[in-house]
Amino acid sequence: MGLDEIIFGASKPCLLESPIRKFAFFPLPDRSLRMAEPQLLRKIQLIAEKAKLGEIAVAFRDFESNEEFSHCGDRWFHAASTFKAALLFALFKAAEGGRVHLDDQLHIRNRFVSIAGGGIFRVERNRDGDSVVHQRIGRSMTLLDLAGVMITRSSNLATNLLLDLLSLDFVRTTLEEAGVAGVEVRRGVEDLAAHDLGINNEATAKGLLRLFRLFLDTEGALSENHRQQALEILFAQEFGSMLPARLPDGVRVAHKTGEISTHCHDAGIVFPTNRRPYVIAIMTGTLPETENRAKAVAEISAAVFHHLQGKRCERESADE
């Protein structure tokens, strides 16, 4: 098996011609954007090269300038924990439809049925990003509290409990009805039997953009009350080493990270202090031993921020 297969599974990274051909696994950028944003693209490529990222996809949509950018935005990645934002959206849609009440209690139990063959699996406590939900086993938590810890501390147990309650079909249908192509929710976390069959949650950078746009008031996907509640949960994200890490003080970011051994992602909405927000998704595929991948995502996030701030300065100069 070749190295690219080890890293990327079935996806086939396209090789790029000079100047970065030496980076054999670097995928080809979208043609239109390569022409439109060469400086930003080059910066992204340099950061990726320096960090030895095997694969990188970046997409953003700026609601100030209406600029859209996509570099390999349609490439599929293992979603890691970014798919939990899709579950958050589905939960709030379920609440709007009267299917659940966010202040309802849910029994905390660490026992799940695999979608692959119906075997039983559990979320390993020492592999979970959070211990609070594990301490509540046998008791209950509100759906809103579970949603909170699913996002802010990336609790796998909370995620599986909510997915179990809502059902995979409901989540998938909700995403489909909301027009979120590019995010595929297929199983709970740590369903190793499904993983062994190649059944994984997957996403593209553009798909995550579509998903996070649903939390903006421009989309009307959620009632204002629920949208604000969902956004507050995303703002409370405790893992801040990527999208927000190198942004100026005062910039708020509503986001969801995703990290597993071979992938490191962050996606969300950035709210600069002086302008309308932009939605951004950065996805990477790396060798397991790759260091500084989170730092690289943070650097790309900062590059996009300064690129868009520069655009604003250019526009302001032109206006004068």
């Binding site: 309802d104 849910l106 139990r109 660490n110 046998g138 209950s140």
Partner: protein, 203 residues
């Protein structure tokens, strides 16, 4: 328990409650045998009342009637809640179990009484009779492995042969993340309702 609750014949409840509680209705177990659901209930007016009502020295009613959002909305959100009268007998067995285990016994949410309308209710589970308890933790011990489940299962069985404990395992009829004990299909007919219990339910 000092009779703080009104005892209700479930067949006199409004139709929407009867449809969910199915008082006195027949249900079949996994072998096709017919069992009759509880017909007489305590009417619990509030969570405060349930929390303040000690069925025994260490078990409040609230512990044995806590359910989650998988319960039917009417039964979950609206008081009074109706709990089969057998719950007070279950509590006495749990108190005895607690004494023999020599530690606090934690009953799980959904682990006491569940109505037939609860999404986890299937067939003729003794939870529908308020005659079963699911226990996730005893003292500091989590009952999520064969050793602890079998150890405390033996303690429960030592009380008497009327106690049934599900064996450890992950097949139907077994448990692997809690201890299930029950008293079978236990029907309780309070004195005030004597004479009514023989009549068959309307279909």
């Amino acid at each position: 328990m000092s009779e703080p609750f009104a005892v209700i014949d479930g067949r006199t409840l409004p139709a929407e409650y009867r449809a969910l509680l199915r008082p006195g209705d027949a249900v079949s177990d996994h072998q096709g045998r017919e069992q009759f659901l509880p017909r007489f209930f305590y009417a619990v007016e509030s969570w405060e009342q349930a929390r303040e009502t000690k069925l025994t020295a260490h078990f409040t009613l609230s512990e044995l009637m806590s359910v989650d959002c998988r319960e039917a909305p009417l039964l979950l959100r609206q008081f009074p809640h109706y709990v089969p009268c057998a719950v007070s007998i279950l509590a006495r067995y749990l108190e005895e179990f607690r004494a023999r285990a020599e530690a606090a016994v934690m009953i799980a949410v959904n682990g006491g009484y569940r109505s037939p309308a609860h999404q986890l209710s299937r067939g003729s589970s003794p939870h529908l009779w308020a005659a079963a308890a699911n226990i996730y933790r005893i003292g500091g011990t989590w009952l999520d492995n064969a050793r602890s489940i079998e150890r405390y299962g033996r303690v429960a069985e030592s009380i008497g042969q009327e106690i049934f404990v599900k064996p450890f395992g992950n097949n139907p009829g077994e448990t692997d993340d809690h201890l299930h004990l029950d008293l079978g299909h236990l029907l309780c007919v309070p004195a005030s309702m004597r004479g009514n219990e023989g009549s068959r339910p309307a279909s």
